[in-house]
Amino acid sequence: MALADFAVSLLTFVAIYGLFALGLNLKFGFTGLIDFGHVAYFMIGGYVTAVLTMPAQVTGYDGLGGYALPELLAVVPGGDVLGWLLGVAGGMVAAALVSLLVGVPTLRLREDYLAITALGIATILNEVVRNETWLFNGPFGIRTVHQPASAAFPLGLGSFILNLVVFGGLSVLVIAYAGYRVGSYVKDVDTTGAALGLASVLVLGGSIGALTQGGPLLFVGVGLAVAGVAVLREAVRRSIEPERTLALVVALAAAAWYFLQPLLAASNPTVTLQTNVMFLFDPVAGPNGGLDYDRFFMLLSLAFLAGGYWWCQRTINSPYGRVLRAVRDDEDVPRALGKETFRYKIQALLFGSALAGAAGSLYTIHLGFISPDQFGAMITFFAFASVIIGGTANNAGVVLGTAVFWAINSGTQFLNDYFPSEYAVKLAAARLIFIGVLLIVILYYRPEGILGEQDYDIRLPGDEPAPSRDDTAAAPGGDADD
């Protein structure tokens, strides 16, 4: 498997779980609702979308539906996609409705009771789905999940050259843009720190390259990695702004791994490098190459994530979001100022659950299969870990935290290749221990998470050109528009 395929799969998961964590952040980060049952809405979204979109009378399925919305609407052009979107909307609405049923009685409880009750209800819902075969086929789950627009893939644009230019070019643009963003973030790092950072990255990259060849080089690689970490520490210590150096180091290490490693390791370096660089272009998909479904689905998931992010930001950067934060900090205060705090809590719960529902829909499609086993309480706690790592009450931080969490969780699976197979289970446990330790370290040294709480800014139309226009009427010194 080329690294590009791994990166595509990782990004798809990050997008899906990022959307899920954004929903949790809305409840927990901004409103202070500790919902330990968040996974229930992920599950409901997944099942409801699956049932609404899959064909009717499938053999081996004894549950409700399917209602085949995409097929029903396929009579109009684009109707199948519309049908699928309706299915997702149905999943979101169902998740929100169930959260309403949960929220009305529990939101009046004290917050720690809410946490426990929500955990219990999520477990009960999972057991119901597992045991009631008439509902969603019980433990056997659904294997006939509808994949939107799958017939159009692999998507080719005619000639091989055209495919190469469009999809390959798009990939290069994305990589260049990412590099530009990192560069402009890191720009004014202290030069010594940057140089040391670069050196450490080369060492790290080299060692990882060596690692991936396995065998006796493993020990050389480990030694180099230790040296690299030492140099990295020094770089961070010397830098004026450790965060930026760290970002540079991480970005360059990722780049070295992604671009240098194939040259060192693979049997066919140029092909692997091409796949990694032009990650959207698959030369063997279809007769003339093109965009395969996994890539398309990654883009679709990222689009959902971007939409969810935008939507959360708009919600938070508003007087509405201000009240949510007030409810989180001390509910009595907004009450004393006439706000119906209960309504705010219910709405945050509904909205957060709907986002979890959308994430569940995407998750189901990505796996192509859904069963109750996929929705254990762990999923909720992974999302809590992502939120806490990235920054509670920070939408960008939550996405970053999800990326860090899943990069660690999935990236370390490569380590399996270097150990005898009987260690696989132990490695999986070690991974969880590592994430647990990371969480403790973050809670201890940086309890606000990597990015900390976000800044808030309610933009009003016409604000930028004349920031103090309204101030003429205001008292001196009072800067009413910021």
């Binding site: 939507w311 708009r314 919600t315 508003s318 007087p319 509405y320 979001g321 201000r322 009240v323 934060r325 007030a326 900090d329 001390d330 009595d332 205060v333 907004p334 009450r335 004393a336 100022l337 006439g338 706000k339 119906e340 705090t341 709405q347 909205f351 709480e453 808030y456 309610i458 009003l460 139309p461 016409g462 309204d470 101030d471 009427a473 205001a474 008292a475 001196p476 010194g477 009072g478 800067d479 009413a480 528009d481 910021d482």
Partner: protein
């Protein structure tokens, strides 16, 4: 000024386990500035809690501007125009002073979820109005240089001011002030009292808990004395001051 009382409370009761905090309080408050005094533990704060919906009274009725609001929920009582300050200021410490103030104005359309998503309508206009009012209020309370600081960084006295500023921004009909001036410096104290008189002359009503008896004498039209969960007496400041029961229960030897 109207002849009907703004607030009229009768037979208000509240017990906490074995402690009877309010033991049948009857009280009417007319437009103006009324002082509420009494020893520690007399039930003044509990009285405020019961009429503003923070605690459900065990008995009795509360009428505000002629409406029975007994047992109503706090937000609806506040929207009718009856607000209170907390004896121990409750700032939203993670939020800035400005944000604390911006929470107060009523009827902000941007506080509705649909409006927050769609913007448009009164959204921008309302937010501008709130920002202007908040800035003015901050300037009056000499908090304007702190607008972008987290409220958690304010001093004890500044917190009292923020609390008062926030409550006044809700444009209330009647304000219950629970020791609003404790720990406030003398110049600002005078300024605040002037503001209270000004608002009073515009028709607002204040019920004012304060342990500084001179201040009560000077600024209140009417004084109510509470003791052990009951109203001990009430009347004009001078009469209350010379009342022997008040001297015994609260003031001690007349100075």
């Amino acid at each position: 000024m109207t002849d009907d009382p703004i607030l009229s409370v009768s037979g208000l009761e509240k017990t906490f386990g074995g402690i009877t905090a309010l033991d049948g309080v009857d009280l009417t408050v007319d437009q103006g500035i009324t002082g509420l005094i009494g020893p520690n533990g007399a039930g003044k704060t509990t009285f405020f809690n019961c009429i503003t919906g923070y605690l459900a009274p065990d008995g009795g009725t509360v009428e505000f501007q002629g409406d029975d609001v007994t047992g109503n929920r706090t937000p609806s009582i506040v929207r009718e125009g009856l607000v209170r300050t907390f004896q121990i200021p409750r700032e939203l410490e993670n939020m800035t002073v400005r944000e604390n103030l911006l929470l107060a104005p009523g009827g902000q359309s941007g506080e509705k979820l649909g409006r927050a998503w769609l913007r448009g309508g009164q959204f921008a206009e309302d937010e501008r109005r709130s920002r202007r009012e908040a800035a003015e209020m901050a300037a009056f309370f000499e908090l304007d240089h702190l607008l972008d600081e987290p409220a958690g960084s304010l001093s004890g006295g500044q917190r009292k001011l923020l609390e008062l500023a926030r409550v006044l921004l809700t444009e209330p009909e009647m304000v219950l002030l629970d020791e609003p001036l404790a720990g406030v410096n003398p110049t600002l104290e005078r300024k605040i009292l002037e503001r209270i008189h000004e608002l009073e002359s515009q028709g607002q009503t204040f019920l004012f808990v304060e342990h500084d008896i001179e201040l009560i004498m000077e600024h209140c039209d009417h004084v109510v004395v509470m003791h052990q969960g009951q109203k001990l007496t009430e009347g004009p400041p001078s009469a209350v001051r010379s009342d022997q029961r008040v001297i015994d229960a609260y003031l001690g030897e007349e100075i």
